[in-house]
Symmetry: C2
Amino acid sequence: MALGLPSHDRRARRHEATKAEIVVAAWEVARHRGLAGLTLAEVAARVDMRVPSLYQYFASKNDLYDAMFAQGNDEFLAFLEERRAELPTDARQRLRAGFRLYFEFCTSDPARYQLLFQRTVPGFEPSPASYAKAVEVMTLLREDLARAGLVHDQEDEDLLTALSSGLVDQQIANDPGGDRWARLIDVVADMAYDHLKSKQRRKGRQGARRPAGTSTQGGPR
Amino acid sequence: MALGLPSHDRRARRHEATKAEIVVAAWEVARHRGLAGLTLAEVAARVDMRVPSLYQYFASKNDLYDAMFAQGNDEFLAFLEERRAELPTDARQRLRAGFRLYFEFCTSDPARYQLLFQRTVPGFEPSPASYAKAVEVMTLLREDLARAGLVHDQEDEDLLTALSSGLVDQQIANDPGGDRWARLIDVVADMAYDHLKSKQRRKGRQGARRPAGTSTQGGPR
DNA sequence: GTCTATATTTGGATAGAC
DNA sequence: GTCTATCCAAATATAGAC
């Protein structure tokens, strides 16, 4: 932004570009070897560098994971921004489309799904900055669902995340590349829609809107 | 079984007992360090041995994973056998109870869930013998559901696995040790029940029972 | 900024004595 | 069956020359 030192600016820009290239290469390796199978040697080879050079861009392997985490969230954000204009306004269709969007994004890259949503990497914890991006994404999703008049409390939200991620998980674990669970997306979305609608009607009949967390539904155990 | 060489018998029994001890220790390490963080050194320390001694019992680390996989399935089998006598006969209640059972088993040991159901360990593939155990478990589950008159084709089954594992996944990933998704088990089970019942009614009205895979529901994409 | 060389650690696996 | 000693490979990370 400063006009003062353009050469610094250019240098910094180049630095950032190289960083981004490395992250892209890291994702390629992760997709190929598995997220936990990522090694700096293979990343370096892919960007035509030696391993020590990577340390000019990332302080540690965990730092690289963190950049991947941030970039994955950026991708999801871009993916959502790009498509949510086309979302149907009808609530039922909107929920179906939302489920399809999430499913497509997640299953199109299982390694990314694992890093962003499953927290299964050995000792990785996202930095506050990267975590903030994840929160931003969740907030956007939440808003979209609330805007459709479908979600009224955290329980509704938890229900939808469980249903959608269940489809994704089974698809990835038991039929990678196939469509066994993809074919169930609309069915499940409709189930969720009907449930939320009838719950809303029940609440409406009861008059006053009770606060969240006082469900009449008894828990298990 | 043979009466001929009792000393062999005793020795073999002891050998098997030590093997089982090692597997138990391995599970403890896996729960503590994460499934991928399992190291032979830590397992050996826990059974008061040196690493090379483990090789008297397991040919490789993957062989140990395989034994853990087999034992995990045995545990699930025992867990099911022990409790399915108490399952309600009423179909709706039976489905609820089944969801609760699966949820309890899975969330009570996330590392085990990961190895048995998520296939996320680096280069691990179960041996044919261990895989057979996994199939046996799935068959038992399938029979129980079919006996309740709830599941008629693979699509029904896939729906139930998606819903139940969605709850488990969210619970483990986003609220480990808590009950945010546990509280939704009955809700989701009832949703599934209502869906399967009304699907059955629809099929009944249409007369002939159409074969699986010809759903009128269009897939996404 | 990138490299060569190297340190360091760790973890799986084997040889061979007891 | 268990151990000590050792090997080997891989992988992260650093030092210091260019």
